[in-house]
Symmetry: C2
């Protein structure tokens, strides 16, 4: 209350404010002026962003109202292999991830497409392309309970086109490998966005809304972007955040997971046979077609040999592969490399593209075998 | 992580937890078992109630999508006149409100009915009575930003029938007296529920959902109920909360706001003329038809005289009235009383019904004029 009002009011409680004006003054005005409206509060005046949420689903509601969907999809952190990028000689900002921030799981829930089409009248028309406007071009997600390091809570968004794509397989999910999603992995509800970086697979999902712009959340607007190579520090990055698109799809990739020696009496003296195993990751839903590993020809030049595909779970899943190479058994590190080729002929590049945040590294994978003697 | 996992994982950060499994272990499983799924977090694991909010409106959205509505309605606290109830000799629990916790304003926004019918497919059918089920019998409201004294945030609900009633005039409002609702009065968005106690006019409204039960919020489930007269303390109240219905409509009421002396040479010596002014409140949308004030006949017996209605703003609004009575001018307090009669013949009772929480008091109003000599 302003001081003039305070004088007029009978304050019954200071905090939260509870106060009433004198009845005699009240009855002088047919329409009560703001200055005479009573204060009845159980809380202080909260911040309010001017938005209203108009519906809520429990998991039971989702289960009852929409067809069940189950998708095998690989989840991967945008920073996968960041440590390798940092080892190229230019420092990167972020957790020094190896190649372990990846998981290929079954995800169960309902299609975001189905939910959106039920909730938003008119969206069906847009979905069918008859009257697409840019007005609602993004679907934004919140995990308001997740108090984050760099923002009040976690949020992200994806293009509406991905969300509505019948082949996009975006899920509001509550199952991981046919069990409830454990809280540490985003349960009870998380978003599953096949093909996209994990940062968009919002954990502890508690809100969905449409917007004509991307989520303003820090993790959408100020992080997870491939900054230009010349940006070398935070200060230089500042003007770029608004200009660089947010990451969506993850790139074609392959990783050597293990290199082990195989006993083989049939190979020439001074050589050894190595078994190389790993995984490969599809880009844009185009499955990995082939993985190659580097061996040596008779002149010790690198040659590419086909690995065997041992597992291929579909267009959103990873590919497991293994192969064998023969190498000279000299003391020290024996290096092997892998590269993936997609069904449409794309090849994993020799080197990833350095960027300050260390995301989307997909250079050829390097595996080592240490020869002791 | 459980200890077994922790041994296996490479922990990059403890809190929030960021950890990856060894790549060699990962690639051994086509489908990644939960124990090998990486942890990438910007926050700790939050609490999550298992619900998902599926749409959000800004005020602009509401304005663009629904017809504008403007309703004159009186807002009143359930505890209006609680102090008078407490003065009857039995203590009541709550802020000792006088008759100032009332405000008759114009409210502008959109009809909740329109919003609900757009958001919830199938509700139109229920609204038309063709297939009403009890499944979604309540509309619940939240002000999640409002950290309250007795609950994590403020919430309330109203029957779906009130919300959908085309004559119910329930609004999602952002205007008070044709201006933005000030934050102290619930802006930017508050609910307006004409005829109902103010506790249901949820301020700082940020969420709406349908439920087959009332809001579980403290202020709906554990407060604002007319407990039986025999309940005299908190302990006795406990078993009653679940049995007593939550308050909805406020009762027919009238209040004397001021008693002033009018100079009048034409009245007999030893008497004085008093002007009595006040307001009256409708119940259940039935306007106040008549207000009477007590005067004295020649033998000093109480008689009821009609007051003049000076303002009547419609079925949800208050009524202003004034009248004059002649009284004997003896030293001390001169007492006048008021009572309202509704258009359907209901009369304000002589005494309100005492209850522990001191709500819905509507006994005849008592006004005083102090004669000095």
């Amino acid at each position: 209350m302003d001081p003039a009002q305070e004088e007029l009011f009978i304050v019954r409680q200071d905090s939260p404010l509870n106060a009433e004006p004198p009845t005699s003054a009240l009855a002088e005005f047919p329409i009560t002026p703001e200055q005479l409206v009573y204060h009845r509060n159980h809380s202080d005046v909260p911040a309010h962003d001017g938005t209203l949420v108009a519906t809520t689903f429990t998991i039971d509601d989702l289960e009852r109202r929409f067809p069940k969907a189950r998708v095998e999809a690989v989840l991967q952190c945008a920073g996968l292999r960041r440590a390798e990028m940092g080892a190229t000689g230019r420092e990167v900002k972020g957790v020094p991830w190896g190649a372990g921030v990846v998981a290929n799981c079954y995800w169960g829930g309902v299609r975001l497409r189905d939910v959106l089409l039920e909730v938003f009248p008119g969206l069906e028309r847009e979905a069918n392309g008859a009257n697409r406007t840019d007005e609602h071009a993004h679907v934004c997600f919140t995990a308001r309970g997740a108090k984050c390091e760099d923002d009040a809570y976690y949020g992200a968004s994806i293009p509406l086109s991905k969300a509505l794509d019948p082949e996009g397989d975006v899920l509001v999910a509550w199952e991981m490998n046919d069990d409830d999603i454990p809280p540490v992995h985003g349960g009870p509800l998380r978003l599953v966005v096949p093909g996209y970086l994990g940062a968009r697979w919002v954990k502890w999902l508690d809100g969905i809304y449409l917007s004509n712009r991307e989520s303003p959340n820090y993790y959408q607007a100020r992080d997870y972007k491939v900054l230009p190579e010349e940006v070398e520090d935070k200060k230089q990055a500042a003007p770029w955040w608004d200009k660089v698109p947010s990451m969506t799809s993850m790139p074609l990739n392959s990783v050597i997971a293990s290199v082990t020696k195989v006993e083989d009496d049939g190979i020439p003296a001074g050589h050894l046979r190595l078994r190389v195993k790993g995984y490969a990751l599809p880009a844009l839903g185009v499955p990995v077609d082939e993985v190659q590993i580097s061996g040596l020809d008779v002149d010790a030049h690198r040659v590419w040999e086909d690995a065997r595909i041992t597992y291929q779970g579909g267009r959103w899943a990873w590919t497991l592969w293994e192969g064998e190479v023969v190498a000279r058994a000299r003391k020290g590190k024996i290096i092997v490399r892998s590269r993936a080729l997609s069904r449409t002929g794309e090849a994993q590049p020799e080197s990833g593209k350095w960027n300050l945040r260390g995301v989307a590294w997909n250079g050829w994978s390097v595996g080592e075998y240490e020869v002791d003697a």
